[in-house]
């Protein structure tokens, strides 16, 4: 979870009586795919459900797998969101082309997804998400399908891209090192029904862009040990410090 998380997350166990509630359900509710049984979602003080369609808060959602469509080229894949929103203006097309250029994919824009590596596919999926100018990014274990080396590279890459845009992102991960390395704030959710067990702001004295340097600091060790304690101890509920 990244910087600028202005959301007021009053999650309680009561809000989620549904047995199936978990992190993915939470994201689906934030994305507006599911309605909460109780409670409401606010974004920057506005009730999400009551926003007018043309003024609505745009949510960018990255799924566990990239789901690039094999029957479309990379370019056709990344403009999918614009196509669905009837927003294929030349301005938006230029924006997408610029993103492809920035993320080193412009040479591959007419290729099929199967011709790209896992990391490139995940970057293409990010462009598809960014193309609709989302206000808030939801990332549901977007790196879980990658091998560990690619995962380290791609996650650092994508975190940096998101940092540059200054957008808020909520990242779900089971990988504790990944959470500490990438996030500005870590929230630990309990088992179902999910409630927040611990909130931990993360600060490093070193450059955030280098995941290896971060993992060598003593702060990293402290965060890791503390969060590990919270994760493994079912009873303890830590208050925000």
């Amino acid at each position: 979870m990244f910087k600028n998380l202005h959301m007021n997350y009053n999650l309680t166990g009561r809000s989620f009586h549904n047995n199936a509630i978990g992190k993915s359900t939470l994201l689906s509710i934030i994305a507006g795919l599911l309605a909460p049984e109780e409670g409401a979602l606010y974004y920057k003080g506005r009730l999400l459900a009551e926003c007018a369609p043309d003024d609505s808060v745009k949510i960018g959602y990255m799924l566990q797998r990239d789901h690039l469509f094999e029957w479309r080229t990379i370019y056709q894949n990344v403009i999918l969101g614009l196509e669905l929103n009837h927003a294929l203006s030349s301005e938006n097309r230029d924006y997408v082309l610029k993103l492809l250029e920035d993320y080193g994919l412009s040479a591959f824009k007419d290729k099929k997804p199967s011709e790209l590596s896992g990391g490139m596919r995940q970057r293409a999926a990010l462009i598809r998400t960014m193309a609709i100018h989302p206000d808030l990014l939801l990332l549901d274990e977007p790196f879980s399908a990658l091998d560990s080396q690619t995962r380290l590279d791609v996650s650092a890459d994508i975190a940096q891209i998101i940092r540059k845009t200054g957008k808020t992102a909520i990242l779900i991960t089971h990988d504790l090192p990944e959470a500490i390395t990438l996030a500005d704030r870590v929230l630990v959710l309990s088992k179902r029904p999910a409630c927040i067990k611990c909130e931990m702001p993360i600060h490093f004295s070193v450059d955030r862009h280098d995941p290896i340097a971060i993992r060598n600091t003593t702060e990293y060790q402290l965060y890791f040990n503390h969060l590990w304690e919270v994760l493994t101890n079912e009873q303890s509920v830590f208050q925000p410090t």
Partner: protein, 273 residues
């Protein structure tokens, strides 16, 4: 193709060359064995007929079939009958493909409709379609329409069931992607369901053309003055076994069923384009 490899090209290593040679050798052996097998079967049949080991009245002979076919070529009846059946098959195939796609799309689009209709589809699909043919004659008369409808009735229900099953097995995550990007169910249909089902639709079409032919022949058995199905019935009624043996036969008298599909195999390349 062998001549291509008679001398080793410079860009191929000796091992690779040996592998390719073995590959082509295997390939040629398979083709040769296939040709020899059919030649041996036909020669044995012809020999058995000439030596009167078998009664040509019941079993015909390759020579007899060829000479009868030649006769049919000369008086153009071959082209008339084959052409009629081909046209009817193509018409019912196109209609089955179109109607099947439309129905499956509707079932997918209106979720509860599929749940309501599913048992009826299964029942209709398992219905013996040849039993329907007499009813069709009563309802629609004895024209081309009846035969085309008979062709449709054989293929349509299976087509709808398999297409709908394919549609509903689309990756739910892909649909979720469409919805998170602000798309509607219609977008999901046109951007995910239909494009991802193209291989399914094509394989369904291959099944459909075969079944349409079966249905058209059944229709022609009962309600035609022209066409291959009519020829089969005519042949069996005048006991011209050697005529029947040359026709695609779905339902000849049981004793001759084996020999009856010689012409059908000739049609297969058309069916499996």
């Amino acid at each position: 193709m062998n001549s291509l490899f008679s001398n080793r090209p410079d860009n191929i290593s000796a091992n690779q060359y040996a592998y390719l040679k073995a590959h082509w050798h295997h390939h040629h052996m398979v083709s040769l064995a296939r040709v020899l097998l059919i030649a041996a079967f036909l020669s044995l049949w012809e020999l058995a007929a000439r030596k009167q080991w078998i009664d040509t009245f019941f079993f015909s002979s390759p020579g007899g079939i060829v000479s009868y076919l030649y006769q049919m070529f000369l008086d153009h009846s071959f082209f008339t009958h084959t052409g009629i059946t081909l046209l009817e098959t193509i018409a019912s195939f196109l209609l089955v493909t179109l109607l099947g796609l439309l129905a499956a799309t509707l079932l997918w689009y209106v979720g509860s409709l599929a749940e309501i209709l599913e048992p009826y589809l299964v029942i209709l699909n398992s219905l013996p379609k040849s039993a329907l043919a007499p009813l069709l004659i009563v309802w629609l008369g004895t024209g081309t329409n009846t035969i085309i409808v008979a062709g449709i009735s054989v293929a349509i229900f299976g087509s709808v069931i398999s297409l709908y099953t394919g549609f509903s097995q689309a990756d739910p995550e892909m649909l979720k992607l469409i919805y998170t990007l602000g798309g509607s169910r219609k977008d999901a249909l046109f951007k995910v369901i239909l494009p991802s089902s193209i291989p399914l639709i094509l394989s369904n079409m291959k099944v459909n053309i075969g079944l349409s032919l079966v249905g058209v022949i059944i229709g022609e058995f009962l309600a035609a003055r022209r066409g291959l199905g009519y020829l089969i019935i005519y042949g069996s009624q005048v006991f011209r076994r050697w005529a029947q043996v040359t026709k695609p036969s779905q339902k000849p008298a049981p004793r001759y069923q084996g020999a009856g599909s010689i012409f059908t195999s000739g049609l297969t390349p058309v069916c499996n384009w």
